[in-house]
């Protein structure tokens, strides 16, 4: 059920969009839904980020992953994994966000006879995660050819690199293959690996199916059931210039693609996909380990009831005197 329900929902979304396009609801699926989705995405993202931002960071709690900056110049600091400066934190965050450094550390624990625990290298999650996110980004950027009257040089370069294998016509984009492969792997590990299967929720399967749906509908359009590409560009340009038009004969599959993207945008701010924004706010990663050098201020720090020395001495004065300890009051 954890898997079937999200799958069913994505299939239903496909059917809805397809039927809608067939039933001449192009204006709804081509104009109303995308506008609404983008609005929900932007507002939702901002609201969520503001919600996070409204809670303070009372303590400086980096997870230190290497030698700290020592008092001693002869002990070498790990400036990236245990940063003490802003530059160090920037480098740590950049590596985290761009190449998933923490995930690169991943190991696999196995219990062998003996008993002997073995921690093997396990880079597949890192590799698949990296392949997925980067190919998704490149594909997203490639789509800018639909958003601009003249296709920028950068995007042309990107496209030619992406298709350098020169397979088929239209040329096969590598990122299309990588994205589908990576999403498939990320799905399979949730089904095959017992630990991952056990922790997975519908909210883990749904975005995978949704993104797979987006990718497959896109691939279908590009390589198989061709859509009217000039019409598509006309529609997108119309949306962007706030004078939307619905060109004739684009093809229903396009509306399926657009609808799934819209659903992704709406779903994004209320889901775990917000890790995209949240990773930047993670206090264990984005803070410098300079606690003993620079005092961190907690905005809600408040006075607390303590047991003072005076009270302590009152409790033990006679015993202290007997033991020869100095006291404040005789």
């Amino acid at each position: 059920m954890k898997i079937l329900l999200p799958l069913f929902v994505v299939v239903a979304l496909v059917v809805i969009a397809f039927a809608g396009a067939q039933a001449n609801l192009q204006a709804f699926f081509g104009i109303v839904v995308p506008y609404a989705a983008v609005a929900v995405f932007i507002l939702g993202f901002i609201v969520r980020a503001l919600k996070w931002g409204s809670s303070p960071v009372p303590f400086r709690i980096p997870t230190t992953a290497g030698q700290m900056k020592s008092f001693a110049p002869w002990i070498k600091q790990n400036k990236i994994d245990n940063p003490s400066s802003r530059l160090g934190v920037f480098a740590r965050m950049a590596l985290e966000v761009l190449v998933f450094r923490s995930l690169f550390r991943n190991t696999k624990t196995e219990l062998h006879d003996g008993p002997k625990l073995v921690y093997g290298s396990e880079k597949f999650l890192w590799l698949a995660g990296l392949a997925f996110h980067w190919s998704f980004l490149i594909i997203f950027v490639r789509h800018f050819r639909f958003f601009m009257q003249d296709v920028p040089f950068v995007i042309k370069i990107m496209e030619s690199l992406d298709s350098f294998l020169q397979i088929g016509a239209p040329l096969l984009y590598l990122t299309d293959v990588v994205l589908v492969g990576a999403v498939t792997y990320l799905f399979l590990r949730r089904v095959v690996m017992p630990q991952i299967k056990f922790i997975s929720l519908p909210a883990d399967y749904f975005p995978l199916f949704l993104i797979l749906g987006i990718a497959l509908s896109g691939i279908l359009m590009r390589y198989f059931t061709k859509v009217h590409i000039v019409g598509v560009k006309g529609l997108v340009m119309g949306l962007l210039s706030f004078s939307p038009v619905i060109p004739e004969g684009i093809g229903s599959i396009f509306y399926v693609h657009l609808f799934l993207v819209s659903v992704l945008l709406v779903y994004f701010p209320m889901s775990k996909l917000m890790h995209m924004g949240g990773v930047f706010l993670s206090p264990t990663r984005n803070m410098a380990n300079n606690n003993r050098e620079v005092r961190h201020i907690n905005p809600w720090n408040y006075p607390v009831h303590v047991h003072t020395y005076e009270e302590y001495e009152n409790d033990f004065r006679e015993k202290m005197k007997k033991a020869g300890l100095p006291v404040e009051k005789e």
Binding site: L5, W52, S55, P56, V57, P58, F59, I61, T64, A65, G66, K69, S70, F71, A72, I75, K76, S102, R105, T107, T109, L111, P115, L117, L125, Q195, F198, I199, P202, A203, M270, K272, V279, S282, P283, T284, R285, N289, N291, R292, E293, R295, H296, I297, N298, W300, V304, H305, V306, H307, T308, Y309, Y312, F316, K319, M320, K322, A323, L325, P326
Partner: protein, 538 residues
Amino acid sequence: MAKVTTPKPAELVTSIDLKPSGKEWMDTPAEIKPGTFCWGAKAKNLNIVEFPNARDWNPSEEDWKLPENWQEIFLTGMKNLLDKYRSFKVFMDICVRCGACADKCHFFIGSGDPKNMPVLRAELLRSVYRRYFTTSGKLLGKTAGGRELTIDVLKELWYYFYQCTECRRCSLFCPYGIDTAEITLMGRELMNLLGLNTDWISGPVANCYMKGNHLGLEPHAIMNSIEGMIDDIETITGIRINPSFNRKGAEILFVTPSGDLFADPGTFTCMGYLMLFHELGLDYTWSTYASEGGNFGFFTSNEMAKRLNSKIYAEAKRLGVKWIIGGECGHMWRVLTQYMDTWNGPADFLEVPVSPITGTRFDTSRSTKMIHITEFTADLIKNGKLKLDPSRNDDLIVTYHDSCNTSRGMGLLEEPRYIIENVCNHFHEMPENTIREQTFCCGSGTGLNASENMELRMRGGFPRANAVKFVKDRHGVNMLANICAIDRATLSASMDYWVPGVRVTGVHEMVANALVMKGEKERETNLRGEPLPGKEGN
């Protein structure tokens, strides 16, 4: 309470299955098994520190005597914490359940209990968060991963938040830095609101609040304990040491976990401090009021931790010292590094620590004004201020256990190693996935070092012990060094259980054994009263 038996190591290992299967975790209430939990807090200890809903209760009984509006207290408390901690809010929202943390937890590796996978431990609370604090969870319930806060769920939360030692190993591997320690801290705060503390934590907290240390040692008892050590030191070295207590005008205040005063092998470490400071002629004092470096308050609530911690700066101020040295302890140093200054600073009445022996200025502690004793000693050795005879430790084949907190909450990795390499001749590292920032917990941190939960402790201690076994088999390691009072107590038990023949020592015990003191007689024994290498026949 009934006596709980711990299974034999072989039985325990056979019971571990790291491949979870079976029913949905949301539909499986926790089974609170004897040997894996600590007794409930006593009302009298909670009353001493004005904790709410104090009562005697027993986790193994059906009725936990909860206040009638417990659900409201829990959820209001949760809202309050979400508003106070961005970490908590973000960590509730962004986990993608990639599972990278799953097999990184010592409790999962030692038990195979899927709810000990860090991701799932957090999901236990996250499911409640989704149900009560997110729109999708309110509307869609279980489909959106939400879960009603029932009495069974509450018990499950309690059970698993007391099976986490806040060691942060999972947070090292998380692509978003989600820190289960942070989630457990919040979880335990919520339990605290309902009086659901454990006896092993709340007893020391009450002791520390009233008497200055977890063990509840009164001023004269602290002095007696140290005098006993001084007698032993005199027997071994012929030198009579005369430390001072609560002395105004001393240059340095020394604070160490009270565990060092109480039981072997911690006491040997403490003898090490005493001998080192004496040899240097250091102008320092002990305090009976601030006689605890550790902070069990940290395992109940942020406020309680601050209340206990306040004594260190208050006492430094009262005595008029210039700066502070802290002893070998794990969580003590996370608290001192990441919390103390924020809570109870600024310590502007103190001076930036400068070693009176070497003149080294400890600028990296220029705000907290407190340095770790291994920093102090490493500096002494580097500057050639100590006369050391490492061959006195030649009977030891040493490996070193990094404490979770000094590794992942501070980054103190090389200083203790530098000392060890200078005071003994046989040192071997454990496998790299089990040391430094990847170190494994002893299995008994965060106040889980009781006796009634011994099975849990041995399970949690399994990965660490297994790595020790590896170097024992390969290099004949017979001594496990560390810089943590809880380690010294708990690793001893874990070694006896998993790797018999390996003993446990603090780093400063080895320092003192190697330390050639001015005017000492020819030593025949080490601090434990055992013949030194080459003196066995005497």
